[in-house]
């Protein structure tokens, strides 16, 4: 019962944050509601017994990635979003179609899935087990992602550096 209550609490916070992200017009408000979504998702992960994932979610997602977003919003001095008129056909057909699809999928998932309840803490999600799995069974993907991150760092530096900076640096050096 408590489990369900906590699920609903965190789930409502999640959905409220996601909807607020869509409604807000200023990017900094959207960024802050995305932090709410990520924080309450960490709560959901704790309910599922994934404690290490929850910690990393808060540290990496709500911490590092969102700081990057807020920093870029501040750097570019992003203001209110301009309104542009969307397509009328998309509004007339898309919204009812999406609602029907969502209701059908939710109904199928809730009614037709004979799944037993998820027990709390049944799965060991502690760092030791995860780390063993990560560095034994998934060592190759881990190394590949490290190369990906290296390339991303190089790409970010190459893209964000000023075009004329190298020439002027050479002149000074």
């Amino acid at each position: 019962m408590l489990h369900l209550l906590l699920f609903l609490l965190f789930g409502l916070a999640c959905v409220a944050g996601a909807v607020n992200l869509l409604v807000q017009r200023h990017p900094i408000n959207s960024a802050l509601s995305l932090v709410v979504v990520m924080g309450s998702l960490a709560g959901e992960y704790l309910l599922l017994g994934a404690e290490f994932v929850a910690a990393i979610q808060v540290i990496v997602y709500a911490g590092a990635i969102m700081v990057l977003f807020v920093f870029v919003i501040m750097l570019l001095n992003a203001g209110e979003e301009e309104r542009t008129s969307g397509s009328r056909v998309a509004l007339l057909l898309g919204v009812p179609g999406m609602l029907i699809g969502a209701v059908l999928v939710a109904w199928l998932l809730v009614e037709r899935s004979a799944t037993p309840a998820v027990a709390v803490g049944a799965l060991p999600g502690d760092p030791q087990t995860i780390g063993w799995l990560l560095f034994h069974n998934y060592l190759l993907p881990f190394e590949v992602t490290s190369i990906l991150v290296l390339i991303a760092i190089l790409g970010a530096v190459a893209l964000a550096s000023q075009p004329g900076m190298e020439a002027s640096a050479k002149k000074e050096g």
């Binding site: 959905v15 994932v53 919003i73 991303a152 790409g155």
Partner: protein
């Protein structure tokens, strides 16, 4: 006790919110945040399935998704800075060189 389907419905709602934001938002940074929202929705379903099948692999995949999201955010925000430097706007309607 919460059935698996509840988690999947929540994950679907988050993903749908991300898709909607990607389509209706005009600020390029907010569009990027919608992509992060979609990745988070997928992560929730990964963890829910990991708990359902008692397989920790699902939780390991979440880390890979997070790494890809971090790399994507770093490169994407650098691209946004480069676009802002050349075009002086964050509105995607004005970034239309590839449009007919």
């Amino acid at each position: 006790m919460v059935p698996l389907s509840y988690y999947l419905v929540l994950s679907g709602i988050l993903f749908a919110c991300g898709v909607t934001g990607f389509l209706i938002k005009r600020n390029i940074i907010t569009i990027f945040m919608s992509i992060e929202l979609m990745l988070n929705g997928v992560n929730l379903s990964f963890v829910a399935f990991a708990a359902e099948w008692q397989a920790l692999s699902g939780q390991v995949f979440v880390f890979f998704v997070m790494v890809v999201a971090a790399a994507e955010a770093a490169v994407g925000l650098a691209i946004i800075i480069a676009i802002f430097r050349t075009r002086e706007t964050l509105n995607v309607d004005y970034v239309n060189l590839l449009k007919l």
